[in-house]
Structure formats: structure tokens, C-alpha cells
Symmetry: D3
Subunit: 167 residues, 6 copies
């Protein structure tokens, strides 16, 4: 048996904004991997509501006081996820699996990443039942229409919306 | 950060019979976990074509000469998977994700297992593209109808079918 | 506008056995309809684990002490659901919508029922999130394998399993 | 049994434009509820082809000469649907269920609405088979490309397209 | 350009019993192919309600008086569909596409057939909207429960049910 | 039996850009039809990355040196596909079937086309397994992020990206 090597996983996303579902997945990921890198994609083409810096900051703040069984870091990235995975010597890419429509896109991306980063597995984790139907999109819809998103997102995100929507 | 603990994963199934898709998933699992236990379910209620012993033997033989980056063991079990997971102090249950219909049943089982074994994550892995549409059921259909299953299953399974279908 | 007529809905199923998901749906149905008839299908062809009488009795017991905003009755039936709906002058047939696979079968049945009972709408309700992935089948799997089903089914069902599995 | 209370349902949508599928659903809804409120969402973020006023007017005109078994009203709204439901003391929100992709988004929305408006059920109805595959989007595609949409939409909508596309 | 060759397609199934949906697909197939072979599978493992001979006879009778733009024949077969396709020098295998669950199984079978019969395309056709939700299974359910299946199946099938259910 | 008539099929799309999956489908289509017309839609509303002319040119170049068992032509079109099908006296419209989400949209379009062009069948073909998860969208994502798309698209498309992304 080979010598024990630390297993690193990347959890990529736009995180526009981070939700409690994402946080739940980060926690679940640390049960399995020795090191977890949350990789915030610039996603310029997706026209995110929150700026790249804001998104990185919100997720960093959200997890800063939490304790996880293994190390968690946040990085921003632009370009191909598979390239980042190779560069970081990741064992795996973590993806949350919410629903059927997700499923197909995720398959497509996983196969594409495999072409570039052959040794990096895509690992699908299931969020807690409470967050199975939660998404950044629906959070934005509710917030913009004046609804209460407390309980769906970390406090720092709730504050960010308040500030943004006041303008 | 806590001291490094070996991560064990259980890969359960009826394996009636084991296919190259299963083997591919076992290999992928060993990229992530330090120890992988292939748990062959007795599955008496499913009326398997191959006996419990035969199924265990076929999978054991199939992987006996392969080299994996981490340790792989085969066990048989009857009863609840979640109980086995707790007993074995598993970090995760591995499931292959083939298609949409799988997806829902897997979700259901994963949530049920989580009720019993709170700290055990269900981890979904994607088989190689070549095996995405392969299943034990279709292998049996092809074999019983006189088709060639070489290339779809390990050699030991091909032999087992030949013997069984001669009778 | 026509004179107010009492709206009756039928909630059909095999209920083998009734689960907390079914109970949740009955309750939701009574928020909408003035009278709700739980129609237990004999379903001889499905080889149910519990006898017709047992299934009727379990669901009757389960709801006997509950209070609903409108009247609830339990009946057994054999034959076509659409015929029962016409006979009872039902306004609607209630169906729980759990997942994608359900969805298609339900569509098929709803269209078939519409052919026979033109004025009876099929109304799909969503169970509470906690029960979205619960089914009679998975309850039986867990119980038969010695797992704890408390919290998933009414107490009377738990007792019935205990008795049945002792034999 | 409590005193009979009138059951009101809200049928929300962008209705850009109203199609015969929507009309079919309104009719079906009036078989079940004592009062039905068609709630046209401003949906500014969706960039609708028809203005808010036009959309309200088209649906109002379309149903003005129809007879339904219970009262139907049209209102416009901006903001959260769940807030409107609470304000109107609705028993239910009606949603048409067309296909699998619908299904998931609808689930998500239904759960979100339930958080805010606990006592309001989301009720899914199936349109007539003829309209199962009809959507406002496809109607717009056909009309813009010079196709005939007669038979798919109320006459007033056909006229509106003619006027709009002449410009 | 190569010399024009007659294109033959096989439309396989258990046809237990043939429905109007099947007939609709046969007709559609003859719009495309020069020769269409309806291949009734023995399907012993599926425990069909109607005997192999009966199923072949019902479909033969049903189409005997119809006129199609190209030649239609009925054959029975046991064994692998792909072998039959090769033997008959078929250009294509026709499959009806009803719904999502069909879709996946069909994909699986199509890929399996492609392994054996490389030059035979699997061609998916859509039945008329009226039959999109019709299946042999639901027809049997309705008939066994005393429902009227006229309009769903050819007259010969209705008669066959009458005879069978009298016993 | 009627005199043999040449069967023409239309394979429509935006082809923004053409991928190896499209090429594979064109080839498969020529196994079945006597003449295949690749119809490039202007798709102005979809904001394509490549201009109408470029898209037509890329697909024309890609297939210019290939040999197919029957004739293949490329045309551009604006307007309704069904109108083009009628005008060209097509027997069929070819659509690639990749995944579940495709499936529904395709159904919708197929039914809409059938309303206008009654005698034109929509025929769904399955791409080679290697291309099942390939789409123009994912190709653009990879290319824009600096990834290698060689092996996914014809050489002319790779060159076009290089030129476009240099600007």
C-alpha cells in the first residue's frame, strides 16, 4: 500500500451569493477530504449580481468562525476549473447534486474535466434535505422582491443584500 | 487540525453479476479513500441470478490481480447498509451515478441512510463514459439471449455465464 | 354564480403501509376540499405485504384521533378509480407528487381517468419536505432489514410490522 | 366540522402572452375553488415581450365572455407571490404542470412559498392533453417567425401579435 | 452517389397487447422506410398476459386491412434484437419515445445494439399526441378492472380481452 | 406499393459552432435518408457567437471532404423550420437526442412542427457515445477559458476560435 498522501478537493462555484446549502456541502466535504479549497469562479459571462471580490469575501467571512474536521481555504479563479485542479494536485472536484436538471449539466462538465485532468475524480455530494431545493437564484429572487432570506444564507449575505438593495 | 485518520468507504451493491462498470467505480473510489470495502448484499428479495457466494467470489476474483492505490476488500452482508457503515466506521458510502432514474432512488436511499448513520456521507461517482449505460440487468439480458458479453464484464463472469447457461 | 356545493376529493392508494407522508397529504388535502375520501385500493395484483383489511384498518386508526379542517373518511375499493370518482361525485382526485418518476406515471393515470370521469380534476399536492423522499417501499425495506421506522410511519404501523416480522 | 368558508386560489404567471393552455387551467381551477384570482406578475426582470398592462388586458379580455363555475378575477402584482397569497387569504396557489423541467422549478418555488405562507397549499393541475406541450415561449417563436398561432391562443392575443409584428 | 437501396426498419416490442399507439408508430415508420418489419419478441421472461401466438396474431390482424405507403410485415423472434437486425440487413431499429423513463432504457438498449450491429441506427419516433401517455400496461390495468378500452386498442384486441376476462 | 421516392431529411440547428457530435449525426442520418439537408438557422434571437455566414461556412468546410452514403447539402434559413420542411418536401426532420432536458424541448418543437407540416416526421437519432455529453455551449466555455477543444470540433472550428479569441 502506498504511503498516505493528503487528499485535496476543490469545491468550485460562482457563489452569487453563498447560501446555507453551499456551507452544508463544504462541511460534508471536510468529512472526506484532508483539505478543501473553495474556488470562487470569476464567471464574468454569467453577469453575477455580486462582484468577484464581494463573493470571495462573503464566503470567507461565512466560514471564518466555523470549525471543520479538516482545512478549508477560499481562492478566486478565472479560466478552466480542470487546469486549477491539475495545478493544485487535487484528488477530486466536489459538486453538489440538487436535482435532475443539475444532474445532466454536471455530467457534461465532469466528463469535460476528465478529458483535461484525468486523475481528478468528480465527487457528487448531497446537501442536507433542508437545502435540496435551495439555490442562489431563488435567494436573489426572494431578496429582490422584498422577502426574508434569513435562514437561507449566512448573516453576512443578508447584510450584503440589505446594502445593495437600499441603493 | 485533527490528526490524520484513515478514510474508509463502502461500495455496496448486489453485483449480480459484477460488470466492468463496477470495477471502474472501485478503481475511482481508491483514488479518494484510503480503504474501500466492496459490500455484496445478499439481496434475497431481489431473486438474484447468481448465488450470494458466487457473486462474492466473482468480484473477489475480478479484482484479485488488479493494483489499486489503496486497499480493497470484499465482504458479504445482509441487513441494513447503514448499520454496516456505522459498524465499519466508514466515512462514506460510494454509489455509482448512471442516469436519471438511478438518481432518485439513490437520493431516497442516501437520505434514509443518513437518518441512521449521521456521519457517513453518500458520495456519488461517475463511471467512465464507456460504462455509463451498462448495468447488470442488461448484461444478463444479452447473455441469456446468446449475445457476447466479453468486454462488458470481467473474464470470470463470462465463464460463469457459460457454465450457468449450459445447464 | 352557482350555489355553493361541497367539494369532495378522493385520495387513492395502496397504502402498503400508510406512511407519515400519506398522513401529511391527507392533512393538506383537507385545507382545500370540504370532504376527503381516502380510498384504499385492493391492489391484489401488486402483491401487497399487508392484507386489504389491515391496510384499511391501519390508516383508519392513524387518523382517528387527528383533527382536520374538513371531514375525512376511509373506504376500500376494487376496480377502476375513475368509476369510484364518478359514483362519489368527486370534484377531484388527489395525488402526491414526490419525484420525477412518479410524475410520468401520474400523468398517464390522470389522462386515463379523465377519459372516463371528465369532470374530475386530478390535483397534485406536494408533501412536506421531510417526506419528499419517503415511500411505502423504502419503509418496508428498512423494517424487513431490522431498521427503525419510528418517525416515518404512524405508531400503529410500527406495531403491525413488529407483529408481522416476529412470525 | 367547521363552518363552510369560501376557498380562494391564486393562479400566478407572467402570461407573456396568455395561451389556450392557461385558459384551460383557469377553467379547471374553477371546478375546485370558489374563487380564482389570476395574478399577472410584472416580471420586469424577465424582459417580457408584452407590457404589463397589455398582458393584464389580454387575459381579462380572453376570459370576459367565458362562463366559469366560480368567480374569476384578474390582478397585476409586483413582489413576492407568497405575500400576495397571505394578503388575499388564499387557500392555494395553482400551478400548471407541463413537464419534467417545470416540475423541479415548481417544487423549489412551492417550498419557498411555503416558508412564507404556511397555510397556502400549492396545487398542481394538468392542462388538457392538447396543451401539455404549449408554452408562451414557443408561441412567441412561432409568431415572430411568421407562423400561424391561431388555435394556440385566444383571438385577442393573435391580434396583438399582428399589431406588434407589423411595426 | 451510391445506387438506391431499399431501406428496411425493424420495429420490435412485446406488444402485450398492441395498442393504437403502436399502430400509429408503424404508420409513421412507413413514411420513412421502404419496408417495415414488426418484430414481436417472445419475451418469456416478462410473463406476458397474451401468448406469443396471440400477440403476433392480434398485430397481424390489426394492420391487415390498413394501407401503408410502404410494405409492412410481422415476424416473431426470440433472442437478441441486434442479431435479427443484422440477419435482416436492417438500416434501422424503430423505437417509440414516450417519456423520460423510456428514454434512458432506450438509450441503454440502443448503445448495446450498436455494439453488435454497428451499421444499424436506432431511430426514435414520437407517437401522435393522443397516444403519448398510452402503454400496454395501462391498457391491461383498465381492462382487468372492467374499464372500457375501446378507442385505445384495435377492435381485435378488445375482443381478445373480452374472451380472456370471461374465463 | 407506391413507386420508390427519394427520402429527404432536414437536420436543423444553430451550429454555433458545429461540433464532432453534429458531424456524427449527419453521418448517421445519411445511413437512413437518400438526401440530407443541414439547415443552419440564422437564430438572431439567440445571440450566436459566430456570424450566420461563418456558421454556414464552418459546417460546409467540415463535411466537404467527407464521404457519406447519400447526398448532403448545407443551407441557411430564417423563419419557421416547418415551412422549410414543407417547401423542401422533406420526409423527416432529424434531431439529435442527447439528454433528458433536450428531450422535452424537442417534444414541444416536434409537436409544433407537426401542426404545420403534417407529413413530416421528426426522427430522433442518438449520437455516438463519445459525443453524448458534447454541446456547442460547452465547447465555447472551454475555448473561451483557454482550454483545448481539439478532438471535440472539426479543425476549421478550432482555427476559427483561435482567430476570434486573439482579437
Amino acid at each position: 500500500m502506498p504511503k498516505k498522501i493528503k487528499k485535496l478537493a476543490i469545491y468550485p462555484g460562482t457563489f452569487d451569493p453563498v447560501t446555507n446549502g453551499h456551507i452544508s456541502l463544504i462541511e460534508r466535504g471536510t468529512h472526506i477530504f484532508d483539505e478543501l479549497v473553495v474556488a470562487v469562479s470569476m464567471s464574468a459571462g454569467k453577469n453575477p449580481m455580486f462582484a468577484f471580490d464581494e463573493r470571495i469575501k462573503m464566503i470567507t467571512d461565512s466560514i471564518s468562525k466555523m470549525k471543520f474536521p479538516s482545512e478549508v481555504r477560499v481562492v478566486g479563479f478565472d479560466g478552466l476549473l480542470a487546469d486549477l485542479a491539475v495545478e493544485m494536485k487535487a484528488s477530486a472536484i466536489i459538486r453538489g447534486l440538487r436535482a435532475v436538471s443539475d444532474f445532466e449539466y454536471e455530467f457534461q462538465m465532469a466528463l469535460m474535466n476528465r478529458r483535461i485532468a484525468r486523475d481528478v475524480e468528480t465527487v457528487f455530494l448531497m446537501p442536507s434535505l433542508s437545502w435540496v431545493y435551495l439555490s442562489s437564484t431563488i435567494v436573489k429572487d426572494v431578496a429582490v422582491n422584498g422577502g426574508d432570506i434569513g435562514g437561507l444564507v449566512p448573516p453576512v449575505v443578508k447584510k450584503a443584500f440589505k446594502k445593495k438593495l437600499k441603493k
